[in-house]
């Protein structure tokens, strides 16, 4: 297991990592490099990669436990069972035969949004908060349901990721039909 924290600084996740004392690499991705490479739009996103470095189960929102199930409605159980079967017995779930159909590939707007996010992040790091804010806003407009960009930028911009901006984003996302990897992959991969 490799965990990647999409957080603005190591200090934001230090308490969690130090409490968990993980034996696996626990990495920090403040610039959202992995989000860009893997088209990650929310957390927690899991991707299965086999011993040859092949993606055998694409991006999906899965949780390690049912701690917040009341909020997101997802049961962690089926994924954890499938994961054990793969790790212990090398058994892949049937959907591994058709990874491509389950992949949500990025759009030009989403790549531009990631580029704007990167610019904003670098501007913020240079103390140019006003310019950074303009580019964070632009990134969010280009990819309105990219939580890594919209919610992930809140702590950088001095907003509370559990505050009013979050509830506004949640409502927006809800009225758009809660787009996620699965629904977007189905929509984007459907024959024209």
């Amino acid at each position: 297991m490799i965990t990647v924290a999409l957080d603005k600084s190591p200090e934001d996740v230090r308490p969690f990592i130090e409490r968990a004392q993980p034996s696996h690499p626990s990495l920090i991705d403040s610039e959202h490099r992995v989000a860009d490479l893997y088209s990650i739009i929310n957390v927690s996103t899991v991707i299965w990669i086999d011993a040859e470095g092949k993606i055998v189960r694409p991006n999906a929102i899965e949780y390690g436990s049912n701690l917040f199930q009341q909020f997101h409605g997802l049961d962690a159980g089926p994924h954890l069972d499938a994961l054990r079967a793969w790790v212990r017995d090398g058994r892949l779930p049937p959907e591994a035969d058709d990874v491509r159909a389950r992949q949500m590939l990025p759009t030009a707007d989403e790549q531009l949004a990631r580029t704007e996010f990167s610019l904003a992040w670098h501007l913020h790091g240079r103390g140019r908060s006003e310019a950074a804010e303009r580019h964070f806003v632009r990134a969010g407009e280009l990819a309105p349901f990219d939580w890594a960009i919209r919610r992930g930028s809140m702590p950088i911009r001095g907003q509370n990721p559990m505050g009013p901006e979050f509830f506004e984003l949640f409502k927006e996302w809800e009225s758009a039909g809660k787009p996620d990897y699965r629904s977007e992959a189905a929509r984007r991969n459907a024959p024209a």
């Binding site: 990647v4 924290a5 690499p25 860009d36 899991v46 919610r151």
Partner: protein, 138 residues
Amino acid sequence: MDTRKLTLIDDGRVVETTANFDDAGIRLAPADLMAALGWTLKDEGLCKDDACVPVRDRGDRVNAAGVDLQAFADLLGRPLAIEAEAGLAVLGASADARGAQLASQVAPDFALPDLEGKMHTLWEHRGKKVLLVAYASW
């Protein structure tokens, strides 16, 4: 027009170069474009290694002040974000390039630090199954 330093982030790689700034955008002299991004301006167009992208209607795209950075990004189909006043620009990866990589199912490599600043790559775990988990405190 003024000539000053530009920090260009090319798909994650930070490059320092010199550029010409004016109201219409940012231009790089051909020699700087070559040094910063590896693309050469030739008669057949913009070329890198064996590949050339034709530059039709050079008009505004290439002039005495150099190659317009936005036109360059558009020709390559790559996203560009600019903050000219800060001398900063980010040239991202195209949706086609990222999409083709993911569709190939070959997991792209990355190098990231842990809490102590020690760098780790994905590919150093070849030979083992990897569960990649992206999470956040938010």
